[in-house]
Symmetry: C2
Subunit: 585 residues, 2 copies
């Protein structure tokens, strides 16, 4: 037996007990007559004690140990003279009588501490060592706890966890599919699922009523700062439901998670904001509601003073940064540069300070009198001491830029605290968006999303005006999940495919089995999918989802620990009837 206890459980009431512990050596302190060693495992750290007077040979042995050695020790639990209230085991230590080295360690390439000296690249290469750090372990353990709490809630609501296949068929969004050549069927490929969408709909048609699954999904795209080629989705679907049945049930899930994981109780319903309102008010379809700072539409208020920029603009909007009227010229200049960066892409920024003494000072004083500026302030609910920030241009673009500026000002005013959470639903998304270049319609959510009931009639005449029964759960500016009521009618689905530019043959080739399934009694149904990695990262206070994935890939989609992707040998390629074609570059 390697241990009688783990390294996190011994307490005062175990004093005098003979114990065996196993673990990693975290730290060795040699004080001459005494040596102390911190022994670590997943459960905690226990202090080992060696005394030169009583056992000089053993102390000498202890001094030869190194960091990250794995040892088994036997000894007696004794009360510490110098207790450490910060450690759960801080009342005791082990007076060691025997050491057994289970496994030696070379000096690790970085320190196994919360504040490690290793950069991300080396930590990914030695991920198995990075995983030992308490900070990383906390995220992985949280992830497990969250997965189980999600299951607990959904199982309790009669959901069934059902596995859907990984080796499926490439779909029209195929460009992002990972494909898997089949050895048995020459020249044929499976594809890895970008989501189990079609299968969960088939499960509803199959009568399973309530389905969920925590499952991996795959997308082969240029990995942006915080995407992974494989990611985990909490995938859910229900039959015989309307939109609010779904929102209520999954709002319940979110509340359950806030309560169980963060010990935060939301007693009120989550705010529900229509997509158009969110865009107009916050310049975002995933607004951070930890702070207010709404966008005011000033188009009517500020026009007509011969300021060409505004007079020629389709839209003028502003936000009010509370208490920042003291911003210096240097600070406002910097802010102008900030909005002109390509990520925001604004031409400029007009500001007006509402000074503490009630006067105004703006960057457009040439065109606007004190009275004019007072009107701005009234329109924006600004008060003395505030800084008004205005942008103008094409409406949608300006709103998005103001939305970004709003987040930046929120950061500067420290209104975006990691420990506050502001969940909300965005509803009534548009059903389609038009490709500005080609005029082709795309599904905003996906091709199976149902229009809102009262808007079916627009499908032949004004499809771009149709709102969808689609919704997103947003927390602190992050889209945590989203979903929709699905179409369950063959005719409507066929119409959708047509608007989306599928020929009849393409629709049949890609979704024939689903269209076919609709012919045999499809229940009304809808669902939602949550980005599990993102949700865990949010609750863990992590910047990146990589922090809460045991073996993440880097930003180029590579696993640099195992060195994948990599070449395969020619024999294997031949078996698959494939050849690698060199492109000219």
């Amino acid at each position: 037996m390697y241990r009688t206890h783990n390294c996190g459980e011994l307490r005062q009431n175990n004093v005098n007990k003979e114990v065996t512990l196993s673990g990693w050596i975290q730290k060795i302190r040699n004080l001459g007559a005494m040596t102390f060693i911190d022994l670590r495992d997943r459960y905690g750290v226990t202090q080992l004690f060696f005394n030169k007077d009583t056992n000089p040979e053993l102390q000498a042995e202890a001094e030869k140990l190194g960091r990250e050695f794995v040892v088994q020790i036997k000894g007696k639990v004794i009360e510490r003279s110098n207790k450490n209230s910060k450690m759960p085991t801080g009342d005791i230590e082990i007076s060691v009588s025997n050491i057994n080295i289970l496994s030696k360690s070379e000096i690790p390439p970085f320190t196994i501490e919360d504040d490690t000296d290793g950069g991300e690249e080396i930590r990914l290469k030695y991920r198995y060592l990075d995983l030992r750090r308490a900070k990383v372990q906390k995220g992985i353990i949280l992830r497990n706890k969250m997965a189980q709490e999600i299951r607990k809630y959904l199982l309790n609501k009669d959901f069934l966890e059902i596995e859907t296949p990984f080796l499926i068929k490439s779909t029209p969004e195929g460009a992002r599919d990972f494909v898997v050549p089949s050895r048995m069927s020459e020249g044929k490929f499976y594809a890895l699922p970008q989501s189990p969408q079609v299968f969960k709909q088939l499960l509803m048609i199959g009568g399973y009523d309530k389905y969920f699954q925590l499952t991996k999904c795959f997308r082969d795209e240029d990995f942006r700062s915080d995407r992974q080629p494989e990611f985990t989705q909490i995938d859910c679907e229900m039959s015989f439901v309307e939109r609010d049945d779904i929102l209520n049930l999954f709002e319940g899930l979110a509340k359950h998670m806030f309560k169980e994981i963060k010990n935060i109780e939301f007693n009120e319903p989550f705010v529900r904001i229509a997509y158009d309102d969110a865009m107009n008010t916050y310049g975002s379809d995933r607004p951070d509601l930890r702070f207010d700072m709404r966008i005011s539409n000033l188009t009517e208020t500020v026009k007509g003073n011969n300021f060409n920029v505004f007079d020629g603009a389709k839209f003028i909007g502003g936000i009010c940064a509370e208490g920042l009227s003291g911003y210096s010229r240097k600070q406002t200049d910097k802010l102008i540069k900030w909005v002109q960066r390509p990520q925001i892409g604004a031409k400029g920024l007009v500001f007006a300070k509402y000074n503490e003494d009630g006067t105004f000072k703006s960057s457009v004083d040439k065109f606007y009198s004190q009275e004019d500026l007072k009107k701005w302030a009234d329109a924006m609910n600004a008060k003395a001491g505030d800084l008004m920030l205005l942008m103008s241009g094409e409406k949608n673009k300006t709103l998005l830029a103001l939305g970004e500026l709003r987040l930046e000002m929120g950061n500067r005013l420290e209104l975006r605290n990691d420990n506050n959470f502001a969940p909300l639903w965005i509803v009534d998304f548009p059903l389609f968006e038009k490709d500005e270049e080609t005029g082709q319609m795309h599904a905003v959510h996906h091709p199976f999303t149902s229009p809102k009931n009262d808007q079916f009639h627009l499908i032949d005449t004004n499809p771009e005006d149709i709102k969808a029964e689609a919704y997103d759960l947003v927390v602190n500016g992050n889209e945590i999940g989203g979903g929709s009521i699905r179409i369950h009618d063959t005719e409507l689905q066929e119409k959708m495919f047509k608007i989306l530019g599928f020929t009849e043959d393409e629709a049949k080739e890609q979704f024939g089995f689903l269209m076919n399934a609709f012919k045999y009694g499809a229940p009304p149904h809808g669902g939602v999918a949550f980005g599990f990695d993102r949700w865990v990262a949010l609750f863990n206070g992590s910047e990146s989802i990589r922090d809460v994935i045991a073996f993440p890939k880097n930003n180029a989609g590579r696993d640099i620990m195992i060195d994948a992707p990599s070449s395969i040998d020619n024999e294997q390629l031949k078996d698959l009837n494939l050849a690698v074609v060199k492109t000219k570059k």
Copy 2:
């Protein structure tokens, strides 16, 4: 709101309640003045009642409905005059006041009944309809329940469920890897995991102590009768454990499952049989212990009577089929043919009947007297009325053939009842097996398996004699799971790779990161993996694992519902820098 209740929950005490139900139409019975409809959902079936006298229009409407239509009905719960005690809702029916057709259905290609008229091929093509059958639903629901009970047990034992990656690196057993071309890294491939073996070992090195995961694994091989290219594994690993720690903990899991799922309590420890003993006694490393019928080694007993077949054989073994001395010539002839089939491949079969009157009658009476045959009977513990069956030849081959014959006789004697369960552990597997043609050593379990402690010394001299710390959990002739204590020492691991024929470069290329990880303090560790599909099938009484997989592939590895694998377009191939090479056939 689509429903106030589901179709399985209304009872006597709901009588007079106004309810709304939604579901599928299972059956319509038109009795002229009255019409009865069975409305079905996942939760059950409720009878709907229509009366010509009170509402002739509605009855006429009801008669127009068809099987598998999805409808919403409103009505009042009434007490049935003719109760059906076989249905949980059999005390009541709904006097319907309103019908709303949610979705029509064409006539399904097969009947949605337990005894369906559809063959497997058509049922796989329309799997979403097959999934509606109560029999199939039972398996899928059982699967969910088992997954959650497994989680419950392991979480309660401090295991963490941790996700390991799907896009990994092709390994030396690469021939069976599914590979995934990377669009971003020209000519490079990921591979799908055949198991998370390496990652779970890295998690132990990372200090996670107890890991499990229910996860998909992938193997691209010729699919035998009951294999799937993707399958689900219950993957587990523990640190600081010896073999018996693992056996005890997972025996606990198996007992928990038997209790919770089958309501069977095993109060005694499972039998543990060494591999060699299992082979000698049952001719199998996964013996069915629902019945005894051991193999007797008769080599010494039967030699020396001038019967050339026996005298020239290296090994002679026999089993005793209780009470079958009455077998006719025709029956024994058939049995001889049975063992001569290529699946068994035996040359022949000697039998001796121990007649009820105490006399013997054998197929080799020319060579063996009644006294001789009495000796056989004594050696085999046969008694009057039994049939003795003997085979001879090379030892291992003969044992395997006797093992198959034993199972067949068990079937004939009805000793293999689906509702009896006989779990056991097979331990002490050989570490290596030698390829008879090339002489190359292969790992019986996998290259990370540790030799038994007391056998390390044989590694340089007699590797083929070494027993491994490897074990299988066997139930009713099925291997449900297996595992081993792993090597945690770099030197020993390097030696293993060498014996297994890896060059140093190959070992480094394939497992460098794991070998490297061992250098930084690897704890002693070991684990087990269970075949979840197989286990569910066993508990469900299913012949095939396909019965307990929501969307299985057929025996050729095809999903015939979605038509995968399939061709992908040239644009996509070009994107992947790949070309399909036509083979000459």
